[in-house]
């Protein structure tokens, strides 16, 4: 029994490290490419999809991924062509995804906060399975490989999209790639903090790293490290005080960001 608990904790710890790393890494590109509004809509798209999975007794990961991808593929071109401000798109898509999520959760076989519904809402890292870890590890390797190979283009787009185009880089596919990757990473990290809070993990580590560092390569290394540290710290706090893991992770990561904001040399100069 002790061994079983130890295995659960090992899985939880490993999941925290992997998801914290991935969210921190992708978050840098989402923040620097000013895709925060799209990332926000998409992470709640993953939440709505996972809720559909619960309602239809199918795999919430698959439906979450489907919804996140659909949101990404719809919002990317709409943002480009519809001449709508990103805030406007978020204001429409975010409530829609939340409404769909709650409708799906109401339609779930056991109405009310069944364990699966609760998992989707707040996350349940304790319920991480070996399969979840395999998915996260595969995603970890694939994401690092993709970022390595297209780093040059991403770096130029993060600096200035128009200049990147002027230098002959086709920026659209790379932006869609980041939106899609963010959707996949969010979906596979849903069990960590749940659909309502997941967005904080995409945004907080990158924003924290940006307060201190003036070198993009250093930021891309620091943000995943901050992501891993805050998720593991949140897990420890939750175990220590017997509180929900997801909430503790988000609270810790927000406190770290607030401290970074106060101590930021960039702000002190002003």
């Amino acid at each position: 029994m002790i061994w079983l608990e130890f295995t659960i904790m090992q899985r939880a710890l490993l999941a925290c490290l992997l998801a914290g790393f991935l969210m921190g890494l992708i978050g840098v590109f989402v923040v620097r490419m000013r895709l925060s509004a799209i990332g926000y809509s998409m992470s709640h798209g993953a939440f709505a999809g996972a809720a559909l999975g619960v309602a239809t007794a199918t795999n919430p990961l698959a439906t979450g991924l489907l919804f996140a991808s659909a949101t990404a593929f719809l919002i990317g071109p709409i943002a480009d062509k519809a001449r709508l401000h990103a805030d406007t798109i978020t204001s429409i898509v975010f409530p829609l995804n939340m409404a769909l999520a709650f409708v799906f959760l109401t339609l779930a076989p056991e109405v009310g906060l069944s364990s699966q519904v609760a998992n989707v809402l707040w996350g349940s890292i304790i319920s991480m399975t070996n399969s979840d870890l395999v998915y996260l590890t595969t995603l970890f390797a694939a994401t690092i490989a993709i970022i390595y190979f297209v780093w040059k283009e991403l770096f130029a787009i993060m600096f200035n999209r128009k200049l990147a185009e002027a230098d002959g880089i086709n920026t659209k596919p790379f932006i869609y790639l980041i939106i899609f990757l963010a959707g996949v990473v969010v979906t596979f990290s849903l069990k960590l903090v749940g659909g309502l809070l997941i967005y904080a993990l995409l945004f907080n580590p990158a924003s924290t790293a940006l307060q201190f560092l003036e070198n993009m390569r250093a930021i891309v290394i620091a943000s995943p490290l901050i992501g891993m540290t805050t998720t593991v710290s949140g897990l420890i706090v939750s175990l220590f005080f017997d509180l929900p893991v997801g909430s503790c992770i988000v609270i810790v990561s927000t406190i770290v960001f607030a401290i970074a904001l106060l101590l930021s040399p960039k702000r002190r100069r002003k």
């Binding site: 297209v150 770096f155 600096f159 128009k162 185009e165 230098d167 880089i169 993009m216 250093a218």
Partner: protein, 250 residues
């Protein structure tokens, strides 16, 4: 100067998204190889639009833009790898995580190509261009901490590092100090001659390189109102009906 057309605009009109009135309309313009042309005009006359239309960054509403004989709407990215471009009033904010060398090296990314990493030779190209512009000591300085003039020189180095065939420069001397204003135009002119470039410079101040340029094109309200020799440009501007609106370029 050779006679081959490098840049050719045929009845080109460009309309910005969400607007009805074209920013440039019915523009016909040809730049031959190794020609250095000044584009002058008052604020909002369409100078920057013209440059961005040539570069294929703005889609044309009507007409055709070709560079090296290739249509910019369909071959824009390939052609842009050979174009050195300095945008107007480009300033990096303090705290932005890019060094001056990063910014110059990035200009080469299109040439380096997808899935290829920058090599030592690319770094050398970037450093050479920075040395030429006198900003080699700024290599590792954060771009956002540089003065307006230093940033403008870094942007010029970025354009030159590509070893371009065409230079499109939008107000490239506006933030330079008086000493650099005397030096940099001569450097551009020398590069233009040595490398047989085709150069289009948008400027408010016609006097910077008036001796070195081959032609002056004046734009007013999105239309070309003068296209001729530099020595005729100033008298034209003085006598043209749009003198009031063109006052700014004198």
């Amino acid at each position: 100067m050779r006679e081959d057309a490098v840049i050719k605009l045929e009845d080109v009109s460009t309309v910005y998204e969400g607007e009805r009135r074209p920013a440039i309309k019915g523009v016909n313009l040809t730049l031959k190889r190794n020609e250095l042309v000044y584009v002058v005009g008052p604020n909002a006359s369409g100078k920057t639009t013209l440059l961005e239309t040539i570069n294929g960054l703005l889609p044309t509403f009507k007409g055709k833009v070709s560079v090296f004989g290739l249509d910019m709407q369909s071959h824009g990215r390939k052609v842009r790898c050979k174009i050195g471009y300095v945008p107007q009033d480009f300033m990096v904010k303090p705290g932005e995580p890019y060094t001056a060398l990063d910014v110059v090296l990035m200009g080469l990314y299109g040439q380096i190509g997808f899935l290829h990493q920058p090599e030592e030779k690319d770094r050398k190209k970037a450093l050479e261009a920075m040395k030429l512009l006198g900003v080699e000591e700024l290599v590792n300085r954060p771009m956002g901490k540089l003065s307006g003039g230093q940033q403008q020189k870094v942007m010029l180095a970025r354009a030159i590092a590509k070893k371009p065939k065409v230079l499109l420069l939008d107000e490239p001397f506006s933030n330079l100090d008086p000493e650099s204003r005397a030096k940099i135009p001569s450097l551009i002119s020398r590069l233009h001659e040595e490398k047989e470039l085709t150069t289009l410079i948008v400027t408010h101040d016609i006097h910077h390189m008036i001796d070195q340029c081959h032609r002056v094109v004046a734009i007013s309200n999105g239309k070309i109102v003068f296209d001729g020799k530099p020595e005729n440009a100033i008298p034209f501007i003085e006598n043209h009906p749009h003198t009031t609106s063109l006052e700014a370029i004198r």
